[in-house]
Symmetry: C2
């Protein structure tokens, strides 16, 4: 069997999330359909992360085992010809048999984008959350530093996950003001993320920026003490899986 890693970008607007579900349009479903046509037999993929309904990706990763080799440099073209225009395979790499896109994954980077214009910018509306209110960005940056390091993020996990170990390490939480300063982008880089953790952290940070949450309450939440300080879960359309790192591919 030939094991292949693919990198995928997608606009999640019209999908019920990454993971295959019965009677729902999913990213995984579309990828498996394209792969099954290409290899002329049913194939399944392992995704690196299961993005929710409406969440986007510029750097999702997945692997699959195939019964014969197709040259890696030709695969993106073959698959993109079969995929809808809102899912694009940007790279394919042959990997060793024991590579698994989820279990082998190292650091991941997510972004959360806020549109800060007074009126929503139409061409960004599907890829950002409109928040024109004044924000204390110094306070947000200060609070963002609390998240870095290793913490029990159990309060930053939405119901609906079966994960039991809720300790995670964040290497970087960064705010970037994009051109014309009307887009504010948060980057979260970590060893892994709990269910809706990024959207909950973004919710807390914005409450700090709106002076509706104190840094000390957030500190308590990271010690598991103050569940009111976590969230709200910010809307899906602002979230994007930017990158999945692999220490070694072979």
């Amino acid at each position: 069997m030939f094991n292949t890693l693919i990198r995928i970008s997608y606009d999640g607007t019209n999908y019920s999330g990454f993971q295959v579900q019965a009677n729902a349009l999913t990213i995984q479903g579309e990828l498996e359909r394209a792969l099954s046509v290409t290899y002329k037999q049913p194939l399944r993929i392992n995704g690196a992360g299961r993005t929710d309904a409406g969440v986007h990706a510029r750097g999702q990763a997945a692997n699959y085992l195939a019964p014969f080799r197709i040259a890696a440099e030709k695969l993106p073209y073959a698959l993109n010809a079969l995929l809808p225009p809102d899912i694009v395979v940007t790279e394919a790499v042959e990997v060793s048999g024991d590579f698994h896109a989820r279990f082998t994954a190292g650091r991941k980077i997510y972004s959360y984008t806020l549109d800060r214009a007074v009126f929503p910018r139409v061409m960004k509306r599907l890829y950002s959350y409109h928040l024109p209110e004044p924000l204390d960005l110094a306070a947000v940056r200060d609070a963002a530093r609390l998240f870095t390091g290793t913490h029990d993020f159990k309060l930053f996990q939405a119901a609906g996950s079966s994960v039991t170990d809720t300790w995670r390490t964040l290497y970087r939480v960064e705010l970037t003001e994009e051109p014309e300063k009307q887009l504010l982008v948060f980057y979260f880089e970590g060893s892994g993320f709990l269910y809706r953790m990024v959207r909950l952290m973004t919710g807390s940070l914005i409450r700090v920026g709106l002076n509706k949450l104190n840094k000390s309450d957030l500190e308590a939440a990271l010690k598991g003490d103050n569940s009111d300080a976590a969230g709200p879960t910010f809307p899906a359309q602002g979230l994007c899986l930017e990158k999945v790192h692999y220490e070694q591919l072979f």
Copy 2:
């Protein structure tokens, strides 16, 4: 009667163009519907430019006469609450009775955006045209200068217009490479534009960049001599009406 200028941005993807048509979804139709609800009677608008199906705008303008005054600073909020999320009114200004968004319009700026990434960038796909082929940008810049000034652009007009005077003045044709250099944006600033003129000029310039058209052939086309040098008409989704200037509003 109270005359009001409104500035509008829209994502043209799902519309049959700006101008009202029977049995078609149009920007003008949606704006007039929102205005008629707001003012509780049928109102018509004059648009500054009639963008085609699928063409976008960040700075379209229109005016309308209303039977009573609504404070200009409140109008965008009132209208946006009634408009679909892909049409956003960004400004309203009271103007004198003889102001007309089309006849009073001065310079207009259009942009045309090319996605130069190897594989299409999904989050840009609705707002750009994917053209990964190598381009001789120096040749494109050189050719772009030919368009500036006053010319008879009759060969840069698509069939279907009743315009008889085809002389127009372009003040600026500029290429900008956007962040990461994977977006190439053309800006065209002029006294006015013929039907599909920007998309035809972009088509010619890209043929120059692909070494499929000589600068001298383009020069001949601008003297009305070489109709083969004009176009092709580039796809609608790359085009955006950026700005309509008014020398004086009152």
